[in-house]
């Protein structure tokens, strides 16, 4: 055992958990540290990011936390642009404690005002030249950084037949999948998305399961890598997150629950295959919600049964939050897949 040169290199490493005889989960404390550190390292090397400069990003999610930790440790200034519907007060104060300037835009339509956040970001970059935009949606450093995860899976498992992971920016699943498939051409990739995310053809809408899916399509999402898509509702994900804690002592966020649910089902259906699952973040941020009985009881339709298997769709469409659906994507491009008619509005 040796001490890493930089604690972040240790903190970005997942712990590996065997969820069954043929399934290994990589449980990250904070997965987004992996792309965040890689993107900053590259920008420092290329000179794009100068000492003491300002970093900017439009996120309030875990990538924002990762950048905030790194920016603070490396003495950069940081602006995070978010919206009222996307951030809660405790998370905002955690980011601010690290020195981040958190800009919260009004979001009257409730769609996260992606366009408004981008406009603000571009204006800030114009006003303060030398500002570095980490650009996690489109920066190739995002997916390239996950070679480290691919290496960990290879060292731990040897043979890998399935890769299962959440999709939001596409970095972790498409990055890990790109590197693994060069070594295992037969590798199947299952993307875990949620209802009302546009990534695999749902019409845009309010996503109850935060941190999963997207309302826009980042360049880092490579649809042609994906063999099947699963849309996991928030309640189905909560149930599995609870199960991970009860049965394995693994305390993760609900998106990790969604990935674990899908991975475990694939491992059950394909007992001769080995399955690698990516679980992106810990449960602490969700202690007062997903792991709080009173909060859960306030949800419409909760409690509900934990769904055991997905319904295979022939037409892609969103469902209720307790539901879990699946579609044989077949490594298609988004435009190739027969989308349903969404109506006129």
């Amino acid at each position: 055992m040796s001490v890493e040169v930089d604690f972040f290199r240790a903190l970005e490493r997942p712990r590996l958990a065997g969820l069954g005889p043929n399934i290994v989960a990589a449980a990250f404390p904070l997965m987004k540290l992996m792309p965040a550190r890689f993107i900053l390292d590259q920008a420092e090397k290329s000179g794009e990011l100068e000492p003491g400069a300002r970093i900017i990003e439009t996120t309030s999610g875990t990538f924002g936390m990762a950048i905030a930790l790194l920016a603070a440790a490396r003495s950069y200034r940081l602006t995070l642009v978010t919206a009222t519907t996307l951030i809660d007060a405790p998370y905002k104060s955690r980011l601010e404690r690290l020195g981040a300037n958190v800009v919260v835009l009004k979001d009257e339509k409730g769609d996260g005002t992606q366009a408004g956040r981008l406009a603000y970001l571009r204006q800030s970059m114009e006003d303060e030249p030398g500002t570095f935009w980490t650009h996690q949606y489109d920066n190739p450093g995002n997916w390239l950084s996950y070679a480290r995860l691919a290496e960990l899976f290879v060292r731990a498992m040897g043979q890998i037949d399935w890769l299962v992971g959440c999709i939001g920016t596409g970095g972790s699943l498409c990055g890990t999948g790109t590197f693994l498939r060069q070594l295992y051409p037969h590798l199947k990739i299952a993307a875990v998305d949620t209802h009302h995310s546009v990534l695999f053809g749902h019409p845009v809408g309010k996503r109850m399961l935060r941190g999963l899916g997207n309302s826009v399509i980042p360049a880092n999402v490579r649809h042609h890598l994906v063999d099947e898509v699963h849309w996991v509702g928030a309640y189905a994900a909560y149930h599995f997150a609870h199960a991970l804690l009860r049965h394995h002592g693994i305390f993760m966020g609900p998106t990790s629950g969604a990935a674990g649910l899908v991975g475990s089902w694939i491992a059950r259906v394909h007992p001769a295959a080995t399955v690698a699952v990516i679980m992106p973040d810990e449960g602490f941020r969700h202690a007062d919600t997903v792991y709080n009985e009173r909060w859960l009881a306030s949800l419409p339709g909760w409690p509900c049964e934990a769904v055991q298997e997905p319904e295979t769709l022939s037409v892609i469409a969103p469902r209720e939050e307790w539901e879990w659906t699946r579609f044989e994507w077949g490594r298609a491009q988004l435009a190739d897949v027969n989308k349903p008619s969404y109506g006129t509005d």
């Binding site: 950084s145 691919a150 290496e151 060292r155 040897g158 590197f179 070594l183 295992y184």
Partner: protein, 300 residues
């Protein structure tokens, strides 16, 4: 006083690329495929002449390494004579020059009644020839930084057993390793090398020749983008059709190697069938070698 020692050659590399050390710095590195069948033997006699000579006289690197070894061992002004006998072909990626150098260093140490550890031998070898292979470590599988002579990772054992079918694309072209410009790998390739390194580690720890073959094949494909070898597509096609475990190359030479499953009951037939195809396609110096106890196989 005199000493004699030998060192083995190799059949190119299983992987070669750019790899991170523990501090996060990148180094050029490789995993060699050691070959027992080929060796260089050096006899060294100390004398009072204050002059150091070598036979054959063109082995300047061996001579330089003997100087360095004498200095390291406290006899910088000593004279003597090195005679190098080697059955390793020169200039194809068999590591002939490192084998001469390593055998010379060992012979000098033996003449002085001592032995040097592999790490010291490797550093002296790099000092003598700028870039050296991991020959000083014999058959221990490791990721070696060939320009610094440092080990980036010990994989903790030897390579798993397999049958190697070696051949050359063109027997006449001879390459001096140092004349090749180093490859400029892009970021995606450098990241892919991480995963290849992990696969090598797994292959050694679990003695899995299948994983070894996969890693070698992908490294050979990346190498092909930077140092194209004639006949590459033909060789990959043959490897696929005969279900070889993989394909490896000498990244700075003309050698190809197919890794075949020693456990397969039809491996002898595969070797014959592939050899015939290769011969018909004009490949040369075709030979099969059992690696690391993939025994029971008769070399034709």
């Amino acid at each position: 006083m005199s000493g004699e020692a030998h060192a083995i050659g190799h059949h190119g590399e299983l992987i070669q690329g750019v790899f991170e050390d523990d501090e996060g710095y990148l180094h050029r590195g490789l995993v060699t495929l050691p070959l027992h069948n080929l060796r260089s033997t050096v006899h060294f006699v100390l004398d009072d002449s204050k002059n150091l000579t070598v036979e054959p006289p063109d082995r300047a690197k061996a001579l330089r390494s003997a100087h360095l070894a004498l200095a390291q061992l406290g006899h910088p002004a000593a004279g003597g004579h090195l005679s190098v006998r080697s059955d390793i072909p020169i200039g194809h990626g068999y590591g002939s020059s490192t084998a001469d150098v390593v055998a010379s260093i060992r012979a000098v140490a033996a003449a002085l009644g001592t032995r040097l550890p592999p790490s010291s031998i490797s550093r002296l070898a790099v000092a003598a020839e700028t870039a050296a292979d991991a020959t000083g470590f014999e058959t221990e599988a490791l990721l070696f930084a060939q320009r610094e002579g440092e080990v980036l990772e010990h994989f903790g054992g030897s390579l798993p057993p397999f049958i190697l079918l070696g051949f050359k694309a063109d027997g006449s072209s001879i390459i001096n390793t140092l004349d090749l410009p180093p490859a400029r790998y892009d970021l995606e390739e450098i990241q892919q090398f991480r995963v290849l390194r992990g696969m090598l580690a797994r292959a050694v720890q679990h003695q899995d020749p299948h994983l070894l073959g996969r890693a070698a094949t992908l490294s050979a494909c990346i190498s092909q983008r930077h140092f194209p070898k004639p006949g590459f597509d033909l060789v990959t096609d043959i490897a696929d059709r005969h279900e070889a475990l993989g394909l490896q190359v000498a990244h700075s030479g003309t050698l190809y190697g197919l890794l075949l499953d020693a456990q397969s009951s039809s491996v002898a037939q595969s070797v014959r069938a592939i050899s015939t195809e290769l011969e018909n396609a004009g490949f040369q110096d075709i030979g099969a070698f059992p690696i690391n106890g993939a025994g029971g196989f008769h070399v034709r």
